[in-house]
């Protein structure tokens, strides 16, 4: 008798169930790992100050301090800082999405000498850490009188972003050549082809690009901290720097509560745009 006949394989249905069970277990564990820090942040935001230093650790608050959220909201001009963040993130996300689509279209559909080299340089610039360009950037904006204004985000938006250019380039390169040829036969120039044919088809990438750019700017700490004064700065800077007692010590539970409120808009945007975001990443070949 063979080993196979001694240990017959379980039926297919059972094997599928076992596989699913394993898969879901792994997914639940991974989800838990990712949600863990956020859950801890929420719990910290609901604790009284003395519970933060308790040992053994208080996993759950003795009494849920829901008022921490109201206190965190009232302690600073939360809405004002959120409005500043929204303005900057919206300006940048809209402009950079458009400009990156335009540049990506050029790299995907137009031919010119040195195109590959230029594209390589563009991608290479992604490896430049922000810190390196920080001081020169400040000096340029200071000379132009743009410090403490939102103009830098307009200029950055109009300049496109290498990663997003890459995203659009990959997407546009995959569209059939016939579309472009038919448009040319109909008398379209490349600007019209981009605007009337390619852009309308690229909503998944547009959506992905907008979400990426928006979250990027919403979460940016360094640029607003460097370029904006305390009144005009963004929520990310305010949450980091203003939850301090009169003695200069951090108010950790209020800061945690504020951080939870700070990430809610991003979560909502992602939930609304997630289908487009996933489709955009998939169709651009970057999954």
């Amino acid at each position: 008798m063979t080993a196979t006949s001694l240990n017959p394989k379980p039926p297919l249905r059972v094997r599928i169930r076992v596989n699913r069970l394993v898969l879901y277990t792994v997914l639940v564990v991974v989800t838990g790992l990712f949600l863990g820090p956020f859950g801890w942040l929420v719990l910290t935001g609901l604790k009284a100050p003395d519970e933060l230093a308790a040992a053994p650790v208080h996993w759950l608050p003795d009494t849920f301090q829901w008022h921490n959220f109201a206190d965190a909201y009232q302690l600073i001009d939360f809405l004002g800082y959120a409005r500043n963040s929204l303005i900057i993130a919206s300006i940048y996300a809209v402009l950079v999405t458009l400009s990156s689509a335009w540049v990506g279209f050029g790299f995907a559909r137009l031919d010119a000498p040195g195109k590959k080299t230029l594209f390589g340089i563009l991608l290479g610039s992604m490896m430049l850490p922000q810190m390196i360009t920080l001081l020169p950037t400040y000096l340029i904006f200071a000379k132009l009188g743009m410090v403490d204004t939102y103009w830098p985000w307009v200029l950055w938006g109009l300049s496109s972003a290498p990663y997003l250019v890459f995203l659009f380039r990959q997407f546009f390169a995959g569209l059939p050549r016939e579309l472009e040829e038919a448009a040319i036969v109909d008398g379209c120039g490349y600007a019209q082809i981009f605007w009337r044919i390619f852009l309308p088809q690229s909503w998944p990438v547009l959506s992905a690009s907008f979400v990426i750019a928006f979250t990027w700017t919403w979460g940016d700490y360094i640029a607003p901290q460097l370029l904006l004064s305390t009144d005009k700065t963004t929520l990310s800077v305010a949450v980091m720097t203003t939850y301090i007692s009169s003695a200069g010590t951090p108010i950790a539970n209020l800061q945690a509560a504020a951080s939870v409120m700070y990430v809610i808009p991003i979560l909502l945007i992602f939930l609304v745009a997630q289908r487009g975001f996933v489709a955009g990443m998939s169709t651009s070949g970057l999954k």
Partner: protein
Amino acid sequence: MHPRAGASLSRRRFLALSTAGATVGAAALSGCALEVSTGVGGGSGETVTMMVKADDITPELVQQAQKDTGITIERVDYDITKLIAMLTAGNPPDLVRGVGATDGAYFAARDVMQDLDPYFAKSDVLRLDDLDPVNDLWRYDGRSQGKGPRYGMAKDFSQDSMFWYNTTVFDDRDVPYPAETEPITFEEWIDNAKRLVRRSQGQTLVFGGSYSGLTRTTLLATMTASAGGSLFNDDFSKVDFTTPEARKALAWYIDYCKLKVGPSLIQPDPNGWDGPTFQAGRMAMSNSGYWLGGMINTDPKLAKVARLAPAPVFAGGARISACQGGTGLWMPRKAKNKDAAWRIFEWYFGEAPAKSRASGGWGIPTLKSLRELMPAQEDYQRRALQVQENELKHFSVVAFTPYATADAIDALFSRAAPAAMNGQMSVDTLAKNLNTVINDQLKRGKEQVG
């Protein structure tokens, strides 16, 4: 697979979004962004830009300044990168927060600070004979800290090698209290910490003690001075951890970390600082100076069991009790609105804000005339004050190098020291390694200063 062709609705939606974004953007730009900040005074003569932290100047103080002096304060969040950028661009703030012990010499050597001697000479509010010696941390003569022109002033201070202890934890472990007039030795401190630490299933329930100074560099420089030596050479261009005194200090600190009696790089306190842990009764001794009394005074339960003790000494060593901070303000040389900035300087250090700080207990006032305002209503406040007053006799300035920031040296220390703290490297090897990396940094700093 490609998306559907001809999705005109998406385009409209996109265009609508774009228009909305552009509208919001245009409104925002016309409303806020186009009013380019005058930032550094802009010639109005009535606005002073202060780069400080939120707690240094609260919105209430900004209003009070307007009322008391007629000058508007525009606050910019303190950020070292932003400060460097503003200094480089030639538009610095009018007043900047700084730590006297470490920033004073650093910025003075780079010639970006305003010599304030002429202002002090004319001032009726900040009289030279009224200045506490701690303000000498803000003096630099081009070679050494503590002498020469004044470039700034401390808002309050503590002798940061002192420590607070919790009598309840001492009682629980039957450990005698440290004396309040005579210092214990570092060796005794660590013995106490070993007896006081309480652990359970790998968790530290109660730290025996915390002793890490304001920065590791200032801590080790001060401890080396206590051992009778100097961490820096004569022109502050080099450190030497291999001298007997510096090695003694380093060995003590590495031993403290290795024993895991208190927070350190290899056993961090999740709270990030001693306050909440000490308040929760989870720390027997906290290496914090008088300033921690500001927090202790607000908690009557804690105040009854918290006591202040003198800075430890090495057996047979000198009694040295330095200030490792001396946080205050300085004025950049290129500040555009110096007279108004000086008026705010006087107000901040000598008038209402200074009096309020003095009575709050968050540090010793830096004007001798304000000492009478230090809190002494309660028994525990009088007790701490007595210990502090006795300790002031042993105050001295431990000079710091102008060629690197304390943060930069701390970063190098944090990279090199954990191996020794974990017992994988000897103290002698660590001392040599620290000499190499820190001296390299100091050499680069000296080249920059010229």
